[in-house]
Symmetry: C2
Subunit: 213 residues, 2 copies
């Protein structure tokens, strides 16, 4: 642990992209990769890649590049994919089912262990191997199983009430897919994943024909 190391958010967002690229190269049998190689694969500036990789503290060799395995370990360590965070899903609708059905999350340290919904038709069923519980069982389950992470895929009108309940039973982080800006106690992490903001950017770029992102 290096105390309060601070990684820039844009860098964090790019690290998974690098990981994918160098994994592909590893599969082709390569053991080293240069920042230029990665940059080319992603249409990035190689200086940016080099600077991002410096955060891993992996050191490369001029004319050779970085050892792929070291880099994979270094990136995984930063973005938390060596951890295992058991998580509950709240709101077993279309989006919630999609998230639970995506095998990539468990591989990346986020492990759905149960789902909650207030639709009686769903309670008791299984979705992608996770049992759906009634929303009334939320606190009991979280406390019994020492869950610290929740993923919120419920409509905006119900989100704040659920967030309040989560804050009271030990949840430390909420990945929030609802459209509502949640009010939570200090120290709690809320990460808003905002598809509607993404759509807005897309529509503006379509209108202006702007092809850079």
């Amino acid at each position: 642990m290096d105390g309060v190391k601070k990684y820039p958010v844009p860098t964090i967002r790019r690290l998974p992209l690098y990981l994918r690229v160098i994994r592909e190269m590893a599969e082709k049998g390569r053991t080293a990769v240069s920042a230029t190689d990665i940059a080319n694969a992603l249409n990035f500036d190689s200086i940016k890649v080099r600077k991002d990789l410096a955060y891993t503290q992996v050191t490369g060799k001029p004319r050779v590049g970085y050892q792929i395995q070291e880099l994979i370990n270094g990136i995984r360590a930063i973005i938390g994919w060596d951890r295992n965070a058991p998580a509950v899903l709240i709101g077993a609708g279309n989006l919630g089912s999609a998230l639970m059905g995506f095998p990539g999350f468990a591989k990346r340290g986020l492990n759905f262990v149960a789902a909650f919904d207030n639709n009686p038709a769903k309670v008791g069923q299984e979705i992608h191997g996770r049992k759906v519980y009634a929303l009334t069982d939320l606190e009991r389950y979280i406390e019994d199983n020492h869950i610290e992470v929740a993923v919120l895929t419920i409509p905006a009108f119900a989100a704040q009430e659920v967030a309040d309940r989560l804050a009271k039973c030990g949840i430390r982080g909420i990945w929030n897919f609802s459209q509502l800006k949640l009010k939570v106690p200090a120290g709690m992490v809320v990460q808003n994943e905002n598809l509607v903001s993404g759509l807005a950017v897309f529509m503006v770029r379509l209108a202006t024909g702007c092809s850079e992102e």
Copy 2:
């Protein structure tokens, strides 16, 4: 039209949030709103809000604020929610179904008209009211119906091939939910929506206990 007006991406991402807040206020019967009001609702700095709102060219009155209706129109005009972009969905899996089932998109100018999938069990069925076609019918449908927008919710390994086909039949913009960085001809708009990057940021914030976003 003001020629090549350029809006900062962070501003574009916030505009939908403002829209939601002022709509809620309008529903409560208010007709004017100050930048401070909006900022408080979202935990933003009011200067930032004021500067963002300036892009709408709506002008406010000191001590009063902005007329809500003017602001709604101004924001909608920028983020393209008064347009109607018919779109095809490619990949009718969990995520694709979730996106088609979200009523918010049509209201915001993105209108799914058909889905495509190469799973024969899905072809011919309807998902959230949209018919699912075979992937082989892609070009014919797009050309016959003059579609310009595609939403990609297929696995990475198949994404580039589909993107190549889309580029050849008149698609101008791809909202890309696959994990692959697509190579497309110049002038084509690709908007990557990267859930895995979002997860990375979330995991890092969880690990460091950083509550600001």
